[in-house]
């Protein structure tokens, strides 16, 4: 029998994790596919995934603008609340980059220091855009 060693290792399954010469601001993956795969498995006709992605696309712009307002107003509790909601939504669809930036904002708000928030907010807007495009594509794809 072939042993475990003959199986491809992590390094072979994933894109190289070594520092790429390309721009560092672009993560290798926009969406962690495992959450999407689970949603497809639970509802093989893709209806659940479509419904969830649809809700994500509808509520995220509003969440982002609420978050942005709270940052402008220098209101840490509201920043924390809005970032928390966005993080939950993003994590559920495997939008790890979005979730990560929201977690950073939550942490800043919790500590009461919002000085770094506007910069993160800019990155969040961009990541949200990319996640939205990727999710829209994923939801319209037939189950593989």
């Amino acid at each position: 029998m072939r042993g475990v060693r003959s199986q491809p290792g992590w390094g072979e399954l994933r894109p190289a994790t070594a520092p790429a010469p390309a721009s560092q601001t672009v993560p290798a993956e926009v969406i962690d596919a495992s959450q999407l795969e689970m949603l497809r498995r639970v509802s093989p006709d893709g209806s659940l995934l479509r419904k969830v992605v649809d809700a994500f696309l509808v509520e995220m712009p509003a969440n982002l603008s609420a978050l942005s307002d709270a940052v402008k107003l220098g209101d840490p509790p509201s920043v924390r609340q809005a970032a928390h909601r966005m993080r939950g939504a993003a994590a559920n669809l495997g939008a790890t980059a979005v979730a990560g930036l929201c977690a950073q904002l939550e942490q800043l708000a919790l500590e009461g220091h919002l000085t770094a928030a506007p910069a993160i907010l800019v990155g969040l807007g961009a990541e949200l855009e990319r996640a939205g495009v990727a999710l829209r594509g994923a939801a319209e794809l037939p189950a593989s």
Partner: protein, 308 residues
């Protein structure tokens, strides 16, 4: 199972609902803690899966409220939170949660939690049934199936407090089977038991709805007559005494043709005085002794009520 999913964020709600339904459970949805609390009262779910951080009533407050409920069956509570909020998990469990799930949720974690939830809620429902049955048995006299002395203690304390507060009267009628020992000696203890059951049945049929009958001791029964004046209670006691006599259960004691009878000592609570329920009981007992001394098979009213 019926599962209530609580989250203030729509994507999380949809995912949770999809997972719950894919596992064959009914899923109710609440968008915040207050709506969840309302739904819990209306629908009695088996399991509540709640987000931690929500505006208004949050996950911790919801846990506390669920555990503070005194009625209804046990609700299994699962807190959903992210890995970075581990401190919340412990606080949630201390506030009454049974388990936790980390976000993002996945089907496997949910399914395993629900297996435990099913087991625990089934066990606790069984326990609640046993407990209710035991509580009933503890308050029931096994021979006559009447309420017993333990039950009397609670019921009388409640009745007495109510009567005092609202200035109402009540009466107690202590009923004792005449020459019970002689009956036992003649027919044996098993026959004595059977006779006590008959006496209990007869007295139970003679009292009005709202009146209560207890087995007080060996051959003693106590009738509790709420909201009754001594005059009305005396008529009720006399009705019960006559009913037993006319039943004609052969006593076979001293004289031929003798039947089983009771003597009754009756006492009324005077709301204008300062009586305790023990005082009323004692007056009834004294009146019972007077009934015995006067020749048995009669009702004697203790001289404690104002004559009007």
């Amino acid at each position: 199972m019926r599962i209530l999913a609580v989250d203030d964020e729509q994507v999380s709600r949809l995912v949770l609902q999809g997972l719950v339904e894919s596992l064959g459970h009914e899923c109710l949805i609440a968008e915040d803690g207050d709506e969840a609390w309302q739904l819990i009262g209306d629908t009695s779910p088996d399991v509540v899966i709640t987000d931690w951080m929500m505006p208004g009533t949050d996950g911790m407050e919801l846990c506390r409220r669920i555990r503070a409920r005194t009625d209804g069956s046990y609700i299994y509570v699962i807190v959903a939170t992210s890995l970075t909020e581990r401190d919340n998990v412990l606080r949630g469990m201390e506030a009454g949660a049974d388990d936790y799930l980390t976000k993002p949720l996945n089907q496997f974690d949910l399914e395993t939690r629900l297996v435990a939830a099913k087991r625990v809620t089934t066990l606790l429902a069984e326990l609640a049934r046993y407990r209710a049955e035991l509580a009933r048995l503890a308050r029931t006299d096994p021979l006559t199936q009447l309420r017993n002395r333990l039950s009397l203690g609670d019921d009388l304390a409640e009745l007495h407090a109510r009567a005092r507060r609202y200035g109402r009267s009540y009466c107690l009628a202590m009923c004792d089977v005449d020459r019970f020992k002689a009956y036992n000696d003649t027919f044996g203890h098993q026959a004595g038991d059977k006779m006590l059951r008959e006496v209990g049945d007869t007295l139970g049929t003679a009292i009005r709805q709202g009146d209560l009958l207890y087995r007080y001791g060996g051959e003693d029964f106590l009738m509790v007559l709420p909201e009754q004046t001594a005059h009305l209670a005396a008529r009720a006691a006399e009705r019960a005494r006559a009913a037993l006599e006319s039943l004609g259960v052969a006593h076979g004691g001293a004289a031929p043709g003798d039947v089983v009878t009771i003597s009754v000592g009756l006492a009324a609570f005077d709301p204008d005085g300062n009586m305790t329920s023990d005082d009323v009981l004692r007056h009834a007992d004294t009146a019972l002794y007077e009934a015995k001394a006067a020749g048995r098979n009669r009702v004697v009213l203790a001289g404690v009520q104002p004559s009007r």
